[in-house]
Symmetry: C2
C-alpha cells in the first residue's frame, strides 16, 4: 500500500530529504533562528526543531474569543477570503447566463461545501417562496397531481452522495490549453449529499400510463429551463431533492426543489423544479438541440449525450498550488464516472510513459467523487503529471488526442481527457497538452 | 423492505388516506378551489389534483434572477433564516464558555453543513492567523518538532466522515424532561467529512519513546483547553484535521487545526490544536477532574469516560415538527456509536412495548451518523415514539431508568438514553420520560 512508501523514506525531515545540500543547510539555519519562537510568523514551509519550552502565547491565546451566539449561522475564516467561486467574464454575455467555477485547488475530500458548489444559470438565480412553490406531474399519467413542499417532505426520503458536472467542464480545452488553472479548467464539478424523494416514488403515486416513454422536466426560473429524460432513467435513480449536505438547497442550487440525475450532465439536473410531464417522445427543447449537442467531424451532431464518462484530475499539485522545493509530496486528486464506481486510478509523472496505481480512499460510492493519493518524491527535475481513471465497466479515461480522433475539434461538451500538469524546476505548474 | 409498506397502501392520496371522512372532504373542496392556480400560496399540506393547463408563472418565473458573481461564497435562502444554531442563555455564565445547538429538526442526511455544526467553547472563538499558527510535538519523543500549516498539508492526507458529540448532550434530561425540543435535547451532535493527517503519521515522524503511554493535547484558545489521551487511541484513528466538508475548518470548529478523536466525547477533540506532549501518565487537567467526570451514587466519580456509547433519536416527528393530521408518515432518525458501526435500529410507536426494525440508509460508516427510516400509519390516536440502536458490538441503547439504576441522578454527561416523543391527537409532539 502507498503509506508504506512514505514510511520507507528515512526519517529526519522526510519533508526536505531531497533538497540539495546547500538548500538544506540553509533550511536548518533558518530553523535554528526560529527556535523557541512559534509566533514569529516566518512561514518557512519546513518542519522546525522544537523549542525547549512550551510555545509562547499568541494574542488569541491570551484573550477571550467571540461567543457562541455571535454567528448563529457560521461562515469561513476571514483568512480564507480567497477561497471563492469565480466566473470567466468573457465566457458568456451576461452573468445571469453564466458559470461560476468551484475552487478545487483549495478543497479536500469528496464533499463540496454548499457555499462553493459550482453554479450554472440560464436566467439567473431566482428567489422562490417555498410556500408558493408547486411541482406539477401530468401528461401520460393516471392521476395528475400538484404537490406543495409539505407534501413532498412527507414522501419516503432517500439520501445519496453524488457528483454533478456541467457537460462544458473543460470545454475550453478542446482546441488548446487556454487557462492555466485547476479552478477554471475543472471547476464545473462538485459533489454533495442530496436528500429528497425518488422520482420513481412520485411517478408511482401518479401512475405512469403504458404509452409513456419520456419525461419533460422544467424549472421555475425565468428561462423555464427544460430537458427530456428517458422514463427508464427517471425510474432508475433520479431524485427530487430538497436538501444538500444536510440543509435546504441553496437558491443557486435550485431552492426549494431540484432534480438530481446521478451521473448525467449537469443541465438535466433541473433546478427550481416545477413540472414533470410524461410523453411518448422527447421534446427536443432548446437545450437539447441548439445547445448541449456535440458537432462531429462529418457535420452531424450527436444529441442526447447525457452520460458523464469516467474522468479524473490531479488537484495537488496544480497551477494554483505549486511545489515549494524538491522532496517528498503526496499527489492528490479526484476521479468520477457516470457509469457507477471508480475501479482504479493510475498516476504518471512522465507524461504517460510509466504509470503507478494510486490509493483510492473510502468511501468509493457510485456516481460520486472518489479521492486518490500517491506519494511522490520530486527530484527537482521537469515532470509531467497525469492521472487516468478506469471505472467498474472497464472504461478507460482517454487522452485529448484520442478524443479529437473520434470527435474532431468542434466540440464544446464532454471533454473527459486526461489532464497533464507540467512541473518546472522551480516548482511552478502549467496546464499543457501533449502532442 | 420498508419501501414496500409504503407501496402496499392503496393509491389515490395515500397522503390523506387515514384522514377522517369529513376532514378529507374538506381537503378535496379546498383543492378544487386551487385548481389551475399554483401561485395562490395556500399551503394545504395536501396533494392537489392537477390543473388542466401548465402552471401559471410566478413572478420569479417571469424575470431574470441574480448573476453568478453575486455570491462568490453562497449562503442559505432568506426563507431559511430560522434554521440556525441556538444557545440556552441560562446554561452557562457567559456566551464565551457556552454551547450552540444544531437544528437537527431541519436537517436531512448524515452530513451537518459547516454553518450549523454545534459549538462548545471554553473561552470563546479565537481568530487565529494560519501563517502564525504552529503545532509543537514534544515530551517523550525522539525528535521534537514544530510544524507550521504548510508542513502539515504536505503529510499524507486522510479523509473520514465522523460524528462529534458533546458529552453533555441530553445532560439536562438526567433529572427530568426539561426542554420540549429536539434541537436543545439532542443538538450537541453533528457529523462531517474531515480531512487531515493521521496523528500516528506525525508521531512516527517525531519517534515515540518506549516510556510514552499518554499524550497531552492542547488548544491555542484563551482557555488553553487540554486533555490527556491514551497513546493507543492516538495511534489508532485520531486525525489532526484542517478541512471540514471540503473547505478549511471554520473558526468555531478549530481553524486552522483541530484534533478529531473518532467516537470519543467532543471535548477531547481539541480545537485550535497547538501542542501535543507525550508522557508516561495522564495530566489530570481541569477538564478531566473538575469537569467531564461522572458522579456516581456512592459518592465517587468515574473519570476518563471518553467513549460515546450507542445512541439514537427520532428527528421526525419531533416537538419542532409535529404531525399535520392522521395518515401515512415516514419516521426518520439518526443513530450513532463510538464503538464503530450501527448494526440495527428498532422503532416503537407504543412506548417500547412493540418494536419494528427500521431501514438503515447507506453508507453505514464507522463512528458516523447513520440514518434510519420507517413508514408509519398514524391513526390519530396518542402514541409514544421511541428508537433503540444496537451497535456492531451488540451494545443496546438503554432506557433512562436503566441509566439511573446504574449511575444515579447526579450525572451531567453521557446520557445516551432512549428518547420518547409523545404524540397527542392534535399531532403535537412532547418530550416525555416514561416511568
Amino acid at each position: 500500500m502507498q503509506p508504506e512508501s512514505w514510511r520507507s523514506i528515512p526519517l529526519v525531515s522526510r519533508l526536505t530529504a531531497a533538497a540539495k545540500p546547500l538548500a538544506r543547510r540553509g533550511f536548518l539555519k533558518l530553523s535554528a533562528a526560529l527556535t523557541g519562537s512559534i509566533a514569529l510568523g516566518a512561514n518557512s514551509g519546513s518542519a522546525e526543531p522544537a523549542p525547549a519550552s512550551p510555545p509562547a502565547d499568541a494574542p488569541w491565546s491570551q484573550s477571550l474569543g467571540a461567543g457562541v451566539v455571535d454567528r448563529p449561522y457560521g461562515r469561513p475564516a476571514d483568512h480564507e477570503a480567497g477561497v471563492i467561486r469565480r466566473n470567466v467574464p468573457w465566457l458568456t454575455a451576461t452573468t445571469e447566463s453564466s458559470i461560476s467555477f468551484s475552487p478545487l485547488q483549495d478543497l479536500h475530500g469528496i464533499i463540496t461545501p454548499n457555499g462553493l458548489f459550482f453554479e450554472r444559470h440560464h436566467a439567473g438565480r431566482p428567489d422562490i417562496d417555498p410556500d408558493q412553490h408547486r411541482l406539477m406531474i401530468h401528461g401520460l399519467v393516471e392521476r395528475p397531481l400538484v404537490l406543495n413542499m409539505k407534501d413532498i417532505l412527507r414522501f419516503p426520503q432517500v439520501t445519496r452522495i453524488h457528483f454533478i458536472e456541467c457537460a462544458a467542464n473543460g470545454g475550453m480545452e478542446w482546441r488548446a490549453a487556454q487557462l492555466n488553472s485547476l479552478q477554471f479548467n475543472h471547476g464545473m464539478i462538485s459533489c454533495a449529499e442530496w436528500s429528497g424523494v425518488r422520482l420513481s416514488t412520485l411517478l408511482e403515486e401518479v401512475g405512469v400510463k403504458k404509452q409513456a416513454k419520456w419525461a419533460m422536466v422544467e424549472g421555475a426560473d425565468g428561462a423555464h429551463m427544460n430537458r427530456s429524460l428517458p422514463l427508464d432513467k427517471c425510474l432508475d435513480d433520479c431524485i427530487v431533492v430538497y436538501a444538500q449536505n444536510g440543509e435546504a438547497l441553496r437558491p443557486e442550487q435550485g431552492y426549494p426543489l431540484r432534480l438530481v440525475v446521478p451521473g448525467w450532465e449537469g443541465n438535466v439536473n433541473i433546478k427550481w423544479l416545477r413540472r414533470i410531464k410524461l410523453g411518448d417522445k422527447p421534446w427536443f427543447s432548446r437545450e437539447e438541440t441548439s445547445k448541449y449537442t456535440d458537432p462531429m467531424p462529418d457535420g452531424t451532431s450527436r444529441g442526447f449525450t447525457w452520460l458523464i464518462d469516467a474522468k479524473s484530475v490531479i488537484t495537488f499539485p496544480c497551477p494554483e498550488k505549486p511545489l515549494d522545493r524538491a522532496g517528498l509530496y503526496e499527489i492528490r486528486g479526484l476521479a468520477w464516472t457516470g457509469n457507477g464506481k471508480v475501479k482504479r486510478v493510475d498516476v504518471s509523472t512522465d507524461g504517460g510513459i510509466n504509470w503507478q496505481t494510486a490509493r483510492l480512499h473510502e468511501p468509493v460510492l457510485s456516481k460520486a467523487l472518489t479521492k486518490f493519493t500517491l506519494p511522490w518524491h520530486w527530484d527537482g527535475q521537469p515532470a509531467l503529471l497525469e492521472s487516468r481513471v478506469i471505472d467498474e465497466t472497464g472504461y478507460v479515461q482517454p487522452t485529448i488526442a484520442q478524443l479529437r480522433n473520434s470527435r474532431g475539434s468542434n466540440s464544446v461538451y464532454h471533454n473527459n481527457a486526461i489532464q497533464t500538469w507540467q512541473i518546472k524546476p522551480d516548482g511552478s505548474v502549467f496546464n499543457v497538452q501533449l502532442a
